[in-house]
C-alpha cells in the first residue's frame, strides 16, 4: 500500500503525469511519422498485418480499466525499457544494412529512441514517488537479437513501431487514469488502489 499522499507529492505527481501525457502524445506523433517513413523506406505495405513479434511488449490488455496505478506504471516501465533495447537494435541494424545511405531514417529512429529513454526515466520518477520505487534493471540482460532474414527483420521493425505507437496511446490513457480523482475523494488516490 502506498503511503498517504502529502500535498507536495500529489502536486509533484500531477505535474509528472501531465508532462508525461504531453511527452506520450509527442512520442506517438513522432512514432506515427517514423512508421510512415519506415514503411516507405523499407518498401513495405502499410496494410501488412504483422503477427505478434517475439520479444516485443504487446500493448493490448484485457480489463484495462481494472488495473491499479502501480500496475499501470510497472507495465509501462517494463515496456519502455524493452523498447529502448529494441530501438537500439534497430538503429544498429540500420547502420549495418544501410551505412550512410539513409541518414534520415536513422536520425528519426535515434530521435524516437531518445524520447523512449526519456519516457522510461519519467516513469521511474513517478514510481520513485511510491515507497517501493522502480525495479532495478541489473540482471535483466537484453534478449538476444533473433537470427532473421532481412524481410523478417523489416517486418519485426514494423511490429516494434506499431506496438510502440499503441503503447504511447495507452500510456497517455494510463497517466490520465492516475490523475483522475476516484469517486468521493478530492485528490488523486495513491496508486495502489486507483483503478
Amino acid at each position: 500500500m502506498a503511503a498517504a499522499d502529502s500535498p507536495s507529492a500529489a502536486l509533484r505527481r500531477r505535474d509528472l503525469c501531465s508532462r508525461g501525457i504531453r511527452l506520450a502524445g509527442k512520442m506517438r506523433s513522432d512514432v506515427i511519422d517514423l512508421l510512415d517513413t519506415y514503411v516507405e523506406r523499407q518498401g513495405l505495405d502499410a496494410s501488412a498485418s504483422v503477427v505478434t513479434v517475439e520479444g516485443v511488449p504487446v500493448a493490448a490488455v484485457e480489463r484495462w480499466d481494472e488495473q491499479t496505478g502501480t500496475q499501470r506504471l510497472l507495465e509501462n516501465l517494463t515496456a519502455y525499457r524493452a523498447f529502448r533495447v529494441l530501438l537500439a537494435q534497430m538503429l544498429e541494424e540500420h547502420r549495418e544494412q544501410l551505412g550512410d545511405a539513409d541518414t534520415g531514417l536513422g536520425r528519426a529512429l535515434a530521435a524516437v529512441l531518445l524520447q523512449v529513454s526519456a519516457f522510461a526515466y519519467h516513469l521511474e520518477e513517478l514510481l520513485r514517488l511510491e515507497s517501493r520505487g522502480p525495479p532495478s534493471e541489473e540482471g535483466t540482460a537484453p534478449p538476444p537479437v533473433p537470427h532473421l532474414g532481412l524481410f523478417e527483420r523489416k517486418l519485426r521493425g514494423l511490429g516494434v513501431l506499431r506496438e510502440l505507437a499503441q503503447w504511447a496511446v495507452r500510456s497517455a490513457r494510463d497517466l490520465r487514469q492516475l490523475t483522475k480523482p476516484s469517486p468521493g475523494s478530492s485528490s488523486a488516490p495513491s496508486w495502489a488502489e486507483s483503478p
Binding site: 498485418s49 551505412g99 545511405a101 532481412l150 524481410f151
Partner: protein, 490 residues
C-alpha cells in the same frame, strides 16, 4: 536364338540368348573357341547368359539346350565376329552431388573408370538435370574428357536459374566412349541412378522465400520461390509493388520469375509471398552495379607523414551498408595494404596511407569491390613531386625599421627532405599587391622566417603567405591568415 554379346570393358563380353522351344528345359552346354583356336572351352549354365573373353577376331559358340532330365533337345552354333559385339560402357557411378546454396550451384563428381580402358580414348558424358515432383528435364549437357588409363574423378558444376532450396534437383549421367579400334557397334551406357539434392519443400520446417537476401547485378533475371506448409495456399507473390504469375514447382513450392531487374532502393526490393490466413513471408533483393573503375586517382602528402589519395567513384553502385563498396589501398613496393573507411554518400573518396621510411616512390593499387564485382586503379607517384603543404599558421610580422619587416610562420609537417618555395603577398591600401617568392630548405615541424625590404615608411601593410615544394611544384598550400603591420616613420 538371338545370341547377343555386349562388352563393357573391351576384355570380357556378356552373351545372352533365347530358347524358342516351349518345352521345359534344364541346363545348357555352352562351348566357345578363343580366336577360332581349338580346343573349345565348354561349361554348363542354367542362365541364358555367360561371360567370356572378347575375341580378337572371332569366336565360334555352340549352345546345346538340354531337357530337365539332361537329354539334348537342340544344339546351335554361332559365329561371332568382332563386328557383332557391341560395346556399352558400364553405367557411370556418381561419387557426390554437392549443393552450394549460396550460389545455387551443384557440383557433380564421378569416376571415369579410366583404368578399364586404353590411354587416350575420348569419353563423352551426358548429364541431365531434372527438377520438380515430376522430375522434368531442365537441361542436358555433354561433357568431354580423355581417358588416361587411370581412374580419374571428374567434376562438373552447374548453376541453377533458381535457388536450390526451391525444390528438389536430380542429376543422372551416362557415358559414351569412342573406342576407335573397336569395330563393333558402340552405344551409350545406361543412365546412372538419379542422385537427389532435396529442396526445402521436402523438409518439415522448410518454409521461406528464397533466395534469402541476395545481391545481383542490374539487368539480371532472378527466380524467387515461396516454400510453404502443406495445405497452405499462396494468394499472391509480389516483387516490389508488382504481382507476378506463379509457377508451380511442387505442392509446397511456387516460384516467380523476375526479368531484367532494375536497381533497388537503399533498403532493397522486397519479395513478398502472401499466404492464406493473412500469413506473409518474404526476402529482400539488392540490385546494383559492380563498382566503377575509380577515376582521377590522385595521391599527395601535406606533411610527409600521411599520403592522402582521392578519387571519383564513378557510377554509384546502388548498394550500401555491408553490401557497399569496399576500398583498399595496396602499395606494391612495400607490399603494405590499407583498407579505407569511405562515406558512400560523399562524391569524393579519400584514403590515407602512411609515409614509409626511406621510400620515395609509391606504386599504389586502389582495389574496389562489392558483392557484384571488383575493379582497380593504379598510380605510380614520386612523393616529393606530390607535396601539397598545409596552410601556413601563426603568421607574425615584426620589425623596428621604416623600410623592412620580418615575417615568421609555422607549417605543420616534416619537409626536411625537400626545399620549400613560399610566396608572400604584400598589399597596402593605395598601391597594388606585390608577390615576393622565397625558397628555403624544408624543416621538421618548423617555423620559417623571411625578411622584406624596400618597404615604404609609415605605411600599413597586409601580409599573407603560402608555400609549395620548390623543386617539383605540385600545388600551393592555402593562403595563411592576413597579418597587418605598419612600418615605422622614416
Amino acid at each position: 536364338q538371338n545370341l547377343k554379346c555386349v562388352t563393357h570393358n573391351l576384355r570380357k563380353m556378356a552373351c545372352t540368348w533365347d530358347v524358342s522351344s516351349r518345352r521345359r528345359h534344364g541346363q545348357s552346354d555352352f562351348c566357345y573357341t578363343t580366336n577360332d583356336l581349338p580346343p573349345p572351352v565348354c561349361f554348363k549354365t542354367k542362365e541364358k547368359r555367360v561371360e567370356i573373353p572378347v575375341p580378337e577376331s572371332s569366336t565360334t559358340v555352340t549352345i546345346t539346350t538340354n531337357s530337365i532330365s539332361g537329354t539334348a533337345i537342340a544344339t546351335k552354333q554361332f559365329e561371332i565376329h568382332s563386328a557383332d559385339i557391341s560395346f556399352v560402357p558400364l553405367t557411370p557411378r556418381i561419387l557426390s552431388l554437392t549443393p552450394d546454396f549460396s550460389t545455387s550451384t551443384l557440383n557433380l563428381k564421378w569416376s571415369d573408370n579410366g583404368s578399364a580402358f586404353p590411354y587416350g580414348l575420348d569419353a563423352f558424358w551426358q548429364i541431365q538435370i531434372l527438377r520438380k515432383e515430376a522430375k522434368e528435364k531442365v537441361t542436358q549437357v555433354t561433357y568431354y574428357s580423355k581417358m588416361t588409363h587411370e581412374d580419374v574423378i571428374l567434376s562438373w558444376n552447374w548453376t541453377s536459374d533458381m535457388p536450390l532450396e526451391c525444390t528438389s534437383h536430380y542429376v543422372k549421367i551416362r557415358c559414351y566412349i569412342n573406342v576407335t579400334q573397336f569395330v563393333g557397334p558402340k552405344d551409350w551406357s545406361d543412365w546412372s541412378p538419379v542422385k537427389e539434392v532435396p529442396g526445402k519443400d521436402t523438409e518439415p520446417n522448410g518454409s521461406g522465400v528464397f533466395p534469402q537476401d541476395t545481391v545481383v547485378a542490374v539487368g539480371s533475371d532472378v527466380t524467387f520461390c515461396c516454400v510453404h506448409e502443406e495445405g497452405q495456399q499462396i494468394e499472391r507473390m509480389s516483387y516490389g509493388s508488382k504481382v507476378y504469375p506463379l509457377i508451380r514447382l511442387s505442392s509446397r513450392s511456387s516460384a516467380i520469375r523476375v526479368l531484367n531487374a532494375s536497381a533497388s532502393d537503399t533498403s532493397g526490393t522486397n519479395v513478398v509471398c502472401r499466404l492464406s490466413e493473412d500469413e506473409m513471408d518474404g526476402t529482400v533483393l539488392f540490385v546494383g552495379y559492380a563498382p566503377d573503375v575509380p577515376q582521377n586517382l590522385s595521391c599527395e602528402t601535406s606533411n610527409f607523414l600521411i599520403i592522402k589519395c582521392t578519387w571519383k567513384p564513378g557510377r554509384p553502385s546502388g548498394l550500401y551498408g555491408k553490401r557497399g563498396t569496399n576500398y583498399s589501398l595496396f602499395e606494391r613496393i612495400s607490399g603494405k595494404n590499407v583498407s579505407c573507411e569511405v562515406n558512400e554518400m560523399n562524391r569524393e573518396r579519400v584514403c590515407g596511407f602512411p609515409v614509409l621510411a626511406d621510400q620515395k616512390t609509391y606504386h599504389f593499387i586502389l582495389g574496389v569491390s562489392n558483392p557484384i564485382g571488383q575493379t582497380q586503379s593504379s598510380l605510380l607517384v614520386d612523393l616529393t613531386q606530390r607535396v601539397h603543404p598545409k596552410t601556413p599558421e601563426k603568421l607574425t610580422v615584426s620589425g623596428n625599421s621604416s623600410t623592412s619587416v620580418h615575417l615568421h610562420w609555422f607549417i605543420n609537417g616534416s619537409f626536411a627532405e625537400i626545399r620549400l618555395l613560399c610566396q608572400i603577398e604584400i598589399s597596402s591600401g593605395h598601391s597594388e599587391q606585390k608577390m615576393h617568392n622565397i625558397s628555403m630548405p624544408g624543416g621538421k615541424f618548423s617555423t620559417y622566417t623571411a625578411q622584406l625590404n624596400t618597404l615604404h615608411p609609415y605605411t600599413k601593410y597586409q601580409f599573407r603567405v603560402r608555400c609549395s615544394a620548390a623543386d617539383h611544384f605540385w600545388r600551393w598550400s592555402d593562403w595563411s591568415r592576413v597579418e597587418e603591420h605598419t612600418t615605422l616613420e622614416a
